[in-house]
Symmetry: C2
Subunit: 665 residues, 2 copies
């Protein structure tokens, strides 16, 4: 990153990012209209993207990756593929075949071990179908939308931001390099949207908001509207009271959930990275808003991380290497709990095989952060699609619990003991039930219910209005208004001694996109053998590899069969997934087939196996080296290798190398 030649090429791009970053700051400082800020931010993002694309273009290791070749292998060996292909397929939906499914399971099992078990989280499993009021409260019904335009003739839909990015790229190309376009022109593009359909050249409609949730009806009446959840988090929030009680009322505690979520993307693309149906693993860590220290922070404080701060992004600067302890100490990262999870996310991603040099944590700039979040960092992984957001890690403050409390009247709060008891003034509304019943009949119950839900502020207002014109207008849950006078209600004041204080907990939320992580991991582990570009394989770590071991009899000689069967039974008993390949074909060719599906170890039964003491060869996928191991021992060795209790290096020190050349394909 500090190559002076490269830096010289990037300098003008960095400058233009900084220039626009300053413009955004200025606009905000002087309180410019929101639309102007949004336009300026859009251009800032576009300039950042141009800088990033250039940076990546100057990093040869990434560019040389042959995505088509990998995708061909993934398809051919059915890691995953488009859903319903025999029916023409649906974009943005994928089916995981045996290898993809096993890889995903193994990643999730390790995730459970790293987070749920290690941190003693409460794991839950909540409904996917969600009634509308829940997602109204969370803000998804109103705000979970993308802007789209339609071809006025064909009805084809496009995401507006995709079209704008395409237009910008064209613009900058037409004007030679990136130097030609200025803020004004870009703003014009945004303002006018004078872009035609890229498919037909037809006119496009005005941009419309398209909500990304899939809608359906729950129950036979057709009256209960529901959505497929767009994230798993809400299921945790609505269960907060039960979970707090399960934890005996104590904070902090964390809740984990693994499950599918759904987003009706306007134009899904980029393979597994943008899909309509995806598996998430989410954590909601509930804590006291004024106590965001983490007891285990000391364990990880020296973890070195690549942090790309909001400030550096606005200034066109690069990411930098920082110890997480340092980042929290300098307040770059908001608090220990957030920092702890960021470090643990990094440790997890490296453990499954993500390359350290392709991982960074990017802080949300204030203009892209949800309005309720107080700090948010995305773990981004570098792939051939650029930097991809794979894990979000946000301090969401008390937003979600507050919203559901407001919507339901159920107080999603925790209590803590006060250092000393205190006396507080209490105001409450006392309904005159008899008078209410007489005046309002069967409406009386709705009225008393609504009165009981009034906040302290509202009670004060009631008191003022009763003292004023003697009437208060109350709206009940069913939307009806009622005039209440002094004859029906009064306000009572009293004081009481309290020992505990209620508060809405803060939430720190690490949220993992499993499909994206999996795709990135496949890219990072894709390799071709030196000198044989057709022989490709995945270097997936044994811990997550779909199948741990192959058993290959050297030939179809029937003498080998009892040994093959015995090994297969022993591996099953040791709970090791394995694949017997006794098909014809040279041993080298069969090894190549197992390499393609990332099997890390291979046991070969050969003529020496028949002799006493019975031995087999054990082959390592990455080095293609082999050792000779006793028949009785080999399953134990594979078990230790697969659970990371030993390494191939150690195994080669312990057992004699088997030198026979692998037969060529």
């Amino acid at each position: 990153m500090s190559n002076p030649e490269i830096e010289a090429q990037l300098a003008p791009l960095r400058e233009r990012v900084q220039e626009q970053g300053n413009l955004v700051r200025d606009l905000k400082a002087k309180g410019a209209p929101e639309l102007d800020v949004k336009k300026a931010v859009a251009e800032l993002k576009a300039r950042k993207k141009l800088l990033e694309d250039k940076e990546l273009a100057l990093t040869p290791s990434v560019v040389s990756f042959d995505r088509a070749k990998m995708e061909d292998l993934l398809k051919r060996r059915f890691f995953y593929d488009q859903s319903f292909a025999i029916y023409g397929g649906i974009t943005g939906q994928y089916d995981f075949g045996p290898m993809g499914c096993a890889l995903k399971s193994n990643i999730l099992a390790l995730w459970r071990q790293y987070f749920a078990l290690e941190e003693q989280m409460l794991e839950v499993d909540c409904s996917i179908l969600t009634p509308e009021p829940v997602l109204k409260a969370s803000g998804h019904v109103e705000r979970f939308a993308d802007l789209m335009v339609k071809d006025v003739k064909t009805g084809e839909c496009f995401r507006l931001d995709h079209l704008i990015k395409q237009a910008l790229e064209k613009l900058s190309k037409d004007q030679g390099g990136h130097s030609g376009f200025a803020g004004r022109e870009l703003a014009d593009v945004l303002a006018k949207y004078n872009i035609k359909s890229p498919l037909t050249g037809n006119d496009l409609t005005e941009p419309i908001e398209f909500n990304l949730m899939f809608a359906t009806q729950i129950g036979p009446t057709g009256l209960v509207k529901g959505f497929l959840r767009p994230e798993t988090a809400q299921g945790i929030f609505v269960n907060f009271k039960r979970l707090l009680e399960f934890n005996q009322g104590k904070l902090p505690f964390a809740v984990a959930q693994i499950g599918n979520s759904f987003r009706n993307e306007i134009s899904p693309r980029s393979g597994l990275i943008r899909v309509r149906e995806f598996t998430m693993a989410e954590i909601e860590h509930f804590c006291d808003p004024v106590l965001k220290d983490h007891p285990k922070f000391g364990n990880i404080k020296s973890e070195k991380m690549t942090l790309y701060s909001a400030c550096n992004q606005m200034d066109g600067k690069s990411a930098s290497q920082v110890e997480i302890g340092e980042a929290v100490a300098t307040k770059l990262v908001a608090n220990e709990t957030l920092g702890y999870y960021m470090a643990r996310i990094q440790q997890f991603l490296l453990a499954i095989g993500i390359k350290a040099e392709c991982l960074r944590f990017r802080q949300h700039m204030s203009n892209e952060m949800a309005h309720y979040a107080c700090d948010c960092w995305d773990a981004e992984i570098l792939t051939s699609y650029g930097w991809v957001e794979c894990v979000g890690c946000a301090d969401r403050s008390a937003y979600d619990l507050g919203q559901h409390t407001a919507a339901t009247g159920v107080r999603l709060v925790a209590e803590k003991r006060l250092p000393a008891p205190k006396t507080v003034e209490v105001s409450e509304i006392v309904p005159n039930k008899q008078a209410l019943g007489k005046t309002f009949k069967k409406e009386a119950k709705n009225i008393t219910d609504a009165l009981a839900k009034l906040s302290l502020e509202e009670i004060t207002k009631v008191e003022q209005q009763l003292a004023g014109d003697g009437q208060y207008k109350l709206t009940t849950a069913d939307g009806q208004s009622h005039e209440l006078g002094k004859d029906t209600i009064s306000v009572k004041h009293s004081s009481k001694t309290v020992h505990v204080e209620e508060f809405i907990p803060s939430v720190v939320e690490p949220s993992f996109g499993i499909g994206r992580i999996m795709y990135s991991l496949l890219e990072h582990s894709f390799q071709c053998r030196d000198g044989d570009e057709q022989r490709c394989y995945f270097t997936l770590p044994p811990l997550v590899a779909p199948i741990k071991c192959s058993i290959l009899p050297l030939s179809n000689n029937t003498d080998f069969q009892p040994y093959t069967q015995k090994l297969s039974s022993a591996l099953t008993k040791a709970e090791l997934s394995h694949k017997v390949d006794d098909s014809s074909g040279s041993i080298g060719r069969r090894y190549a087939r197992t390499d393609e599906i990332a099997i890390p170890y291979g046991i070969t039964v050969d003529f020496d196996t028949l002799k006493e003491p019975h031995t087999v060869t054990l082959r390592d996928r990455n080095t293609m080296k082999q050792v000779r191991v006793g028949l009785e021992e080999v399953v134990g060795v594979v078990k230790d290798l697969s659970t990371a209790r030993t390494s191939w290096e150690k195994v080669t020190e312990q057992y004699p190398l088997f030198e026979q050349q692998e037969a060529s394909k």
Copy 2:
């Protein structure tokens, strides 16, 4: 079951079932109208249900179960509870709390071990959102419906069969015992449906078919109709070609899938047993239709099973105990593959803790079996709701692959080598492309596509018609008809030598309802301590128990803390879920709390732990006995107990009993 007193009470009910069974057989034999058969079958089912209810009422062990008490505990300790309760809740949807989620995970992990790993199945993970054409082909769009009626005034919906059953129960009660109603009356009830709304007494609408699938739109255009899958199986069928190829073209092979399915039940009830969103684990075993032997059948052929044959059901007889080998030999069970899976299903259910005496396999009667299935047995588990279908095991023959082949034109077939090559006559349609193009312009391609898909039978018809009036009327995929004459097409005959034969594989499908299994297991393992009805617990086997071990310091003496922490770290390292309870409260009370959430083992740190050699006590939930074990050894002992490598009995032989009485609550 063979108690003569009980049999005397059941005899008249058995007789009436048999009487109706014979009527159904007669009606079918003489080809009576379908509606008459359906009515007679409905009555047969009602009579069977009355017999079953009586049988259960005479079995005291089941009746004495206190469901309300168990449900209270499940709710209180958040095993599971209604979803979105703070928003009023949605019937038929449940959220699994920490204990329910862990229990479910553990059941699924064992399922994977029992089936996917042990049988080397290909596990896949397919899309939930399914486009309409797929579910049209599978028959779900047309047939996956229940009959419902609506209250004409309030719009409230009821399932017709529920209303009829209620009416029958009332009828039989009014007339004293079950002796009063005859076939005619019941048919009248069914024919007239002169039942009022049980809630309002209002009239009801005519019965209408209500499709149980949740509908939505995929993509932003609103034009692609989709459904949430009602079963996971179709995802496997549409991927058949990829899976066969992954298996190198060889049969048999089995594919497994675990995932959620959705059914928009008209009136969900019975807790976890009838819900709108549920987890299934399904297996599709593909095999040659003429080779349904199973290589591992010998391993299980002596498994004793309780089989309730279709014949016995029609005759009002009971289930009987049979060895599965015997059942297949006598053709009671259609073939070895079906029998093998039935035995393995039984082994699995017993391993997780289902009571053997509460498990039976009930064969579908020919009138309830899907028309394509050739044999189907349901594993039914006895609960306080009666016998509940928990696992289906069906030989679905070639139905599904055939349907998708017909719908897509993609041949979902396998090949097998012929014993000897043979010469076959081939008929094919040769289109005169030039003439077609001239006559039909841009329709020509659709026509040639449609011609290529014609079956041999249809080709023969074409030939006959061309020879007759010289015209053949062809319908293309878009539904248009075209008259083709001799100028545009001809039929060519040739012979060729073939070495392989194509065939559509048969499918044997074991399909597990995980929620129902889990609920049944909770019922079977629910217990109260002798002499203390308030102290309830679950005897879940350690293999599936949500948490394997508790750590309880005897008191909040700080000297205990280092030992508690050390044990917790060691358990985490050994991947054992555990719970530290260092809250105040007597040790007996804390044990009772861990019993409630089914923790099988408890480690107590006491004053003897502080002395050398350091020891702890280890307590068994079921017997409440304790042994004294070395601090360094105890984690290994818990690991062996939790993975069924040892038993509590053996542990008590190995370690000294710790005799101190458990402090009373």
